[in-house]
């Protein structure tokens, strides 16, 4: 286990290093001079421009800028927002819990729908129920998140008036109101997760059901229900657990447009607002943060894979 973790860390560190290079490189794509954007009204004043340039180290060579930037990054300094006058790291930490709640709810919805549907469609392979479940999953994958969100608001908020169309109440302030404001966006994100988990579960179950131990179980007279639930499902869930962890990371990307539509002040809304306001350090910080979260989640996925799979545990 330790050697495995060390090997994985050996991969992660270079990957994150390359991520930092890419994120730093984003700045170079910018058309125009950042100093001019920052100076705003005072862009005519060469002294102001020179001051901004030296503050941002824009007057230094690129490698020096990068080195300085990376050094501060390693000390947890993700930069300073141009518009909100706050450290980017603080901004991200402030918004992340909101998105974490949303992601958690979406994931529960996705797993509760996706895993049983995947099992059923594998058990009833090539029968109408299998086609129906696959069809619904295909619809789920093909529907753009943000359009589904708009359609849900149209139905449940505008026409039926059951749920608030937008806004957010923190869980600890008013749990019921918090659920009411997040249930629609969570459902929107959950359908995507459900579709993907369903496909993975179905594939893993089909593999498991064709294994020898399943045939043995059936041969010795174990009831089919138990064969599916105990013998096949427990093995099929191993890849699903790890893929589910990765899928959880992808919820961050899905949250971008969904939060924008439901005006939920989370991580995704932070990205969109930063793009609208041309708050480039925030955009960079967000890309870095998602990469970090994603890499840590895939590490977690690997560890879980080892933990739930006794064969691998013994092998390492």
């Amino acid at each position: 286990m330790t050697s495995f973790l060390l090997r994985r860390l050996g991969q992660i560190i270079p990957t994150l290093f390359v991520v930092s290079l890419l994120v730093f490189g984003l700045q170079q794509l910018m058309p125009g001079d950042p100093a001019l954007i920052l100076a705003g009204e005072e862009r005519g004043d060469p002294r102001v421009l020179a001051e901004i340039r030296s503050q941002l180290m824009l007057d230094r060579p690129l490698w020096e800028q990068y080195g300085h930037w990376l050094w501060r990054l390693l000390h947890g300094d993700f930069g300073f927002s141009w518009r909100i006058q706050m450290p980017v790291a603080d901004l991200i930490m402030e918004k992340l819990p909101v998105t974490a709640q949303l992601a958690m709810m979406s994931f529960i919805i996705g797993a509760v729908i996706g895993v049983p549907c995947g099992v059923l469609s594998a058990v009833w392979r090539d029968r109408p129920a299998d086609w129906a479940i696959n069809g619904v999953a295909l619809f789920g994958i093909s529907t753009p998140n943000f359009w589904l969100g708009i359609m849900l608001i149209l139905l449940f908020s505008v026409n039926l008036g059951w749920l608030p169309p937008s806004g957010y109440v923190p869980l600890w302030e008013d749990p019921w109101q918090s659920l009411a404001t997040t249930i629609m966006p969570a459902f929107v994100l959950g359908t995507g997760v459900a579709s993907v988990l369903m496909r993975h579960t179905r594939a893993a179950m089909l593999t498991a059901l064709s294994q020898d131990y399943v045939r043995t179980a059936r041969a010795k007279g174990v009831p089919e229900r138990l064969v599916v639930a105990k013998h096949a499902l427990r093995n099929a869930l191993i890849p699903v657990v790890t893929l589910g962890t990765i899928e959880f990371g992808r919820l961050l990307a899905g949250a971008v447009l969904t939060e924008q539509i439901f005006t939920i002040p989370g991580f995704g809304k932070l990205v969109v607002d930063a793009v609208f306001n041309r708050d480039y350090p925030v955009v960079q910080g967000v890309v870095l943060a998602t990469a970090l979260i994603f890499v840590l989640l895939s590490l977690l996925a690997d560890v879980l894979y080892m933990l739930v799979n006794p064969r691998l545990r013994a092998a390492s």
């Binding site: 794509l29 529907t143 359009w147 924008q260 539509i261 955009v283």
Partner: protein, 296 residues
């Protein structure tokens, strides 16, 4: 299992694998439906100037937010423009972004992936780390960040999507090249004295084309959603030119009075993405019997 059935089918019918795959694909009813929808959208995009009933940019204060009628089947928008005409013209931005972005991504991604798979250990390490780094940022967030830095324009959105999706092709081509490298025919090609680039270009590439075709079709579906998302955020097609994403963004403000503004552009995105997914799934079933059902 598939290798055996493929072999026996070959012996029984004497049919080439390409013909067999084509026959399987043509008999795949869902894929044919998807293909028909794609063809319809392609025609709509090409013929938009002739089949659109109105000028997509012509505003009219007399016809603001009119409900669907015979004169305007999809209604009119907040500036009195005909929504049907705008949806038809919007197909151009969407399909072009999807096809161009994926084409460009494959064009740069596949050679780099082949290089990683067939080149030396260090080349492979370098390329794989860069691909890993790009894949560790979720696709849409990377595309949004790139588009934000490049500046709002349809061309920039396409470039951002192409770059964000290219590591998928790098990884796929690398994996397939590694598989192909260890096969007997690649060995034979090398033994005959072919240099590595020749083996890659003339022996490995043709053998991995089916998988690339499947991946490209599914990637177009993703790229179309990404273009709509970027346009929705104002980073794609710029107003007043129509695109489905920006139409949806404008529609949000009039949801209670003019729901048709939100329904039709979204329906168009949904249909075209569904169609590409159906074609992709059908191609996978027909071309690549070994592949497992994966995620998006």
């Amino acid at each position: 299992m598939s290798a055996i059935t493929t072999g026996s089918a070959l012996i029984e019918t004497g049919e080439s694998p390409t013909r067999r795959a084509l026959r399987k694909f043509l008999r795949h009813r869902l894929a044919m439906f998807g293909l028909a929808v794609v063809v319809c959208f392609v025609f709509a995009a090409i013929l938009a100037p002739w089949i659109a009933p109105h000028d997509p940019l012509a505003t009219s204060w007399a016809r603001i937010r009119q409900a669907p009628s015979w004169a305007h089947p999809f209604g009119t928008d907040e500036n009195g423009r005909d929504v049907l005409s705008r949806v038809l013209w919007g197909a151009r931005a969407s399909l072009m972004a999807g096809v161009v972005a994926v084409g460009f991504a494959a064009f740069i991604g596949v050679p780099i992936g082949l290089l990683a798979g067939l080149g030396g250990k260090w080349v492979d390490m370098l390329i794989s780390r860069v691909a890993d780094a790009m894949l560790s940022v979720p696709f849409l967030i990377l595309a949004i960040a790139l588009a934000a830095f490049l500046g709002p324009a349809l061309e920039n959105a396409m470039l951002a999507i192409a770059v964000s999706i290219s590591p998928v092709f790098v990884r796929l081509a690398r994996g397939l090249a590694l598989d192909a490298k260890s096969t007997d025919w690649a060995e034979a090609a090398r033994a005959l004295g072919n240099p590595p680039w020749r083996v890659g270009l003339f022996h490995v590439l043709p053998n991995i084309l089916p998988s690339l075709l499947v991946q490209s079709t599914l990637a177009i579906a993703e790229a179309i959603i990404a273009e709509a998302s970027l346009s929705f955020l104002g980073l794609g097609q710029q107003p007043p030119n129509p695109s489905w994403g920006s139409m949806l963004n404008a529609a949000q403000r009039f949801m209670d009075t003019a729901p048709w503004l939100a329904i039709f552009p979204g329906l168009a995105i949904f249909l075209v993405v569904l169609a590409f997914n159906l074609v992709g799934d059908g191609l996978r079933d027909a071309l690549d019997p070994r592949s497992q059902v994966g995620g998006r």
